[in-house]
Symmetry: none
Subunit: 258 residues, 2 copies
Amino acid sequence: MSENTESPQLLCLRNFRVVLCQTSHPGNIGSAARAMKTMGLQHLYLVNPQHFPDAHATALATGAADLLDNAIVTSTLAEALTGCAFAIGMSARKRGLSHELVNVRTAAAKAIEIASSQPVALVFGTEMSGLSNAELDHCQLLAMIQANPEYSSLNLAAAVQIMCYELRMTALAAQHIADDNLNLNTSPEYATIDSLEAYYAHLEATLLHIGYLNPNAPKKLMERLRRIYARSRLEKEEVNLLRGILTLTVSPRKHNKY
Amino acid sequence: MSENTESPQLLCLRNFRVVLCQTSHPGNIGSAARAMKTMGLQHLYLVNPQHFPDAHATALATGAADLLDNAIVTSTLAEALTGCAFAIGMSARKRGLSHELVNVRTAAAKAIEIASSQPVALVFGTEMSGLSNAELDHCQLLAMIQANPEYSSLNLAAAVQIMCYELRMTALAAQHIADDNLNLNTSPEYATIDSLEAYYAHLEATLLHIGYLNPNAPKKLMERLRRIYARSRLEKEEVNLLRGILTLTVSPRKHNKY
């Protein structure tokens, strides 16, 4: 049987969005679009691109110019992640954080599983410095391409190409083993990024209320708490459960109704 | 142990040569050199390049300009393959030939094995039409990147990037360090099982106190909360942080000391 993008396992590639943050060179946006389309991905999000739309981007996209036409430009990363159940931050280096860091092949396996039912984002930082810590805080997983430590400077579009290639390879492999794996249809409904943000806001307000959080320096504590929950990939119902605790933390039930 | 290009398994990457045939755009030669170096390959051969050396090639090579300086220009493919024990032709499409056709991952496995002792060539055709049949006749194996059949037009440097990436991943796996978990050498101090149990007990008592937990049926809620934290593999300091929140949940700071 010939490979067919319409087969159910490859359709999950349509559930990915590539999010490029503050891209400096429009040519890289075009090349990234081309890289995506060769691997069957189609949704491009641009957070504050320096120049877009741009003729150079269109020229380098060649046959993938439709992805540029349909690209969604946002002013914040949070906006670009709305509706996503999982966000993978791409990093060229180890970071001094306790984010879970895996290679792109492992990341692809996790991502494909979730993308069978919910949108997943691949988040790329600027050409010069990659993702900021604030941007990484929106991601649940950090993925790294295992490059030459003496020269690890991959071009942005080259990094997009490798990540999308790994996704396609993983989806193709899943296509061959789907019949064997009866667990696929029991994958939980993960919380969306925006509902996670709402939870973190609720958590922060609660910690201020009980006097645990220093309002003059809230940043670090919240970052550490975000990392704990990012690692556990919260399901939708679990977020409801945790928010229920916060609600009663502020207003305990005076008369226990049980 | 940190990754080291000098380890014996990665040294085999030095036994590869990337052979670009009749390349039209010098920028692609520069981008290909960059792609090679990020993955630890260094030997570039150019068969009848249309423009070389060229300032555009040098600009796109960035920190890999040394590969261009050392590139060997030949007038025939046979010359570029002199001394090689194996040559893999890269093809974007199936060819009406009796060449063995495999995907690049499979090709990488065969190539790495041979490259441990002898030079291996990766042969790329022109941007427009790929390798000619005459050029393919010099190759022992045909390798294909499994692209979107509706748009399989990878940029030349992108194809070089993927093939070199697969070689590096294969070499790393042979080295037994392509571990899923790149955090190994910075592994944090995880909480002990007993400190986790103490945290769960503290959490349960707190949830009873605020009236969230039904004392007649506490089991299920606690199980669900345990699962959230089990998945995030809590560190020792994170447990302290979470217990600090519980302490203040029961006894908020009346006079905020900040």
